[in-house]
């Protein structure tokens, strides 16, 4: 079994002491990020890229890439978990994927069962993490083998599908989501064209030759946008926090949540694999499913532990599932995975089917480290629940300016120009204005990362076909991807016309 051998190799990478440390640090920072109001998984990961870049600067490229992606992935799933803490204790979800958790979690906290809710969330997240990792291990090889057969035309259509999926589900208006996507693609064309070497839209400004740095845009739109929003809306009052008494769940709690965790993990994983349908959708679906399966659906919303266990498992499983398209196809399915992909590209590592052949230690090291990270998350979070609850109380007076200072430091340390800092501030302003008016910013970042790849594949495909555009519809797989892409955008619109309610994926 090659897969098992590769996995074992992966564990030797992940168990190197510095990588263990990176996974640990990533998970802790991630949980803190998830708990802190104002920074979600996306801005957390984006903010830490420059820090990891410096931490790993002394290492050989491949090892550096493996270590930093291990840390960043730790932040990602740590943050997914941390988001649930605020939902349960404060009734204010840290991320949209924990919105459902607040329904029953906060009620449990009101009844003095905050500890049980938190620990069941941790246990559920852990099991879900393991389930999605097993799925990742099983699917990674076969999927990347299929993807190896893809030509440029198939890639082009698949990436369009990825973009369509994210825009089709993001936010309230499809038009606005599509505008953001196309705008992101346009921003991606700025700079020197990789094929012909011609400078486009640079207007002889040297800072633009390399193109706009995705890191600057992502940190600006997400982290600063959120900070500006909090300052402007003067949302700085501290809310009272529910007390945590007993941490461990009772036997009855465990029994009640065993099935929801299993269902949530499986459901979440499959939803996570689909591009565009991220953790938020997974947790919503899981909640609905649990309510349907439950013997007394009326108890939901009144502190039913299944309403915490299911959705929390689902959103963690989804974040594991979202790694599959990223690692095997090189196509990020969500904002956060787009940022992870940007980080890999910064290390000159191209995610995609070749990743498993060219850089097996990165791909399998990451997979193995996610096993370890999930274990760390469980061991850490049970005893540290009270510590993390303290972090929530960090006064915003200090938190917000420090987030601004950290983003400045991060961007400047990587780019070393003040141009990027001005761009960062501008993006922060636009990020606030856009998301305030229902323009989703995640598709923009995704498009910015995918843009150059889409263009290159389009041009390569057209070169192969001698400029004949029909290559995209005559290749069967490419045609299938295009049809799904169109359906993904159109079906919600049609459903809306018919007056049906459509679940949309908020930013995650």
């Amino acid at each position: 079994m090659d897969t098992i051998k590769f996995l074992l190799d992966g564990f030797t990478v992940a168990l190197q002491w510095h990588n263990l440390l990176f996974a640990l640090v990533g998970v802790i920072i991630g949980t803190a990020v998830g708990v802190l109001p104002g920074i979600g998984p996306m801005s957390g990961v984006a903010l830490l890229i420059p820090v990891t870049a410096t931490l790993t600067s002394g290492m050989p490229t491949d090892a550096a890439a493996a270590s930093s992606i291990i840390l960043l992935a730790g932040v990602y799933y740590g943050a997914m978990y941390g988001g649930s803490t605020t939902s349960i204790l404060l009734n204010t979800p840290g991320e949209s994927s924990s919105v459902v958790t607040a329904l029953d979690g906060y009620q449990m906290a009101q009844q003095g069962r905050a500890g049980a809710a938190l620990s069941i969330a941790a246990i559920g997240s852990f099991i879900a993490g393991i389930v999605s990792l097993i799925g990742l291990v099983l699917l990674a090889e076969p999927l990347s083998n299929i993807a190896l057969e893809f030509g440029p035309a198939e890639y082009f259509s698949l990436m369009l599908l990825g973009l369509a999926a994210v825009s089709g589900l993001a936010g309230k208006s499809v038009t606005k989501a599509l505008i953001m996507t196309v705008f992101g693609l346009m921003l991606g064309t700025i700079g020197i064209d990789a094929v012909s070497g011609i400078a486009r839209f640079t207007y002889d400004l040297p800072v633009l030759y390399g193109g706009l740095e995705f890191l600057t845009i992502a940190v600006g739109l997400f982290a600063l946008g959120e900070v500006f929003k909090t300052i402007l809306e003067n949302d700085t009052d501290a809310e009272p926090i529910a007390k945590i008494k007993r941490i461990l769940p009772t036997k009855q709690d465990l029994k009640d949540s065993a099935k929801p965790i299993t269902r949530g993990s499986l459901l979440g994983f499959f939803i996570g694999v689909l591009p565009g349908a991220g953790a938020t959708l997974a947790s919503f679906f899981s909640y609905i499913t649990e309510k349907k399966f439950s013997k007394n659906p009326d108890s939901f919303g009144k502190g039913n532990i299944a309403g915490v266990a299911g959705p929390e498992s689902a959103n963690n499983a989804a974040s594991g599932g979202a790694m599959i398209p990223l690692l095997t196809l090189g196509i990020p399915g969500s904002g956060t995975t787009a940022i992870l992909m940007g980080a890999l590209i910064m290390y000159n590592v191209q995610p995609g089917p070749l990743l498993f052949d060219d850089h097996p230690e990165i791909a399998w090291g990451l997979i193995a480290s996610m096993f370890i990270g999930n274990l760390v998350l469980l061991i850490l979070n049970m005893p540290l629940v009270k510590v993390f609850a303290k972090i929530i109380q960090t006064p915003k007076k200090y938190l917000l300016p420090i987030i601004i200072a950290i983003s400045f430091f991060g961007v400047y340390a990587v780019q070393y120009t003040t141009f990027d800092l001005y761009l960062l501030l501008a993006c922060g302003l636009f990020g606030y204005l856009l998301s305030k008016n229902d323009y989703p910013v995640a598709p923009l970042v995704l498009a910015l990362v995918l843009g150059p790849m889409i263009e290159n594949n389009m041009r390569r495909a057209l070169t192969i076909s001698n400029g004949d555009w029909s290559i995209f519809v005559t290749k069967p797989l490419s045609l299938v991807f295009l049809i799904i892409a169109i359906a993904w955008v159109l079906i919600p619109v049609i459903l809306k016309f018919m007056g049906r309610k459509v679940i949309v994926n908020e930013e995650e």
Binding site: T54, L55, S57, G58, S173, T175, K176, L178, I179, V182, F183, L185, M186, T189, D193, V195, S196, I198, R200, F201, F228, I231, L232, E233, N234, T236, P395, K396, K397, Y398, L400, P401, I402, I404, A405, F408, F409, Y412, A413, Y416, T418, L421, Y422, L425, L429, L433, N437, D438, Y439, E455, M458, R459, L462, T463, N466, G467
Partner: protein
Amino acid sequence: MIKSFDKISGIIFLLISILFISESLKISGSAYGSVVGPKIYPLILGIVLGILSLRLLYEAFKQASDKKETMKLDYKKFAIIFISAIVYVLLLEIIGYVISTFIFLVVAFQVMEKGRVIQTLIISAIFSYGVYAMYVNLLGGALPRFSLF
């Protein structure tokens, strides 16, 4: 608020698309050895954005402007922090990382909430010097040094 924003942004996006189309037409047409030059892709994007922004304008004008409750926004606080962030960038390479960060944090903390001056000074000093020491001395990175000394 959302509707009027949509009208304005629709027009802006339309202008961007026109600009983008006209600018991409100026890019040289063909690349050596390839049928498709560097101008086709931006051109397509420009056209698609144009269509989408027309659609947005149509949607924005079709729906009667609904009255939304206007939230009271704290423009003053935001403006001071935003401007001090710009000043921070301006000064960063002149007076160095530590001093500029320190000043920015002190100003921003006090704008967020007045009082507790000593705590403010301590936190700002620890952050600005701590980041610099960690990054430059420990990790060997580079940040603008104090140039006053």
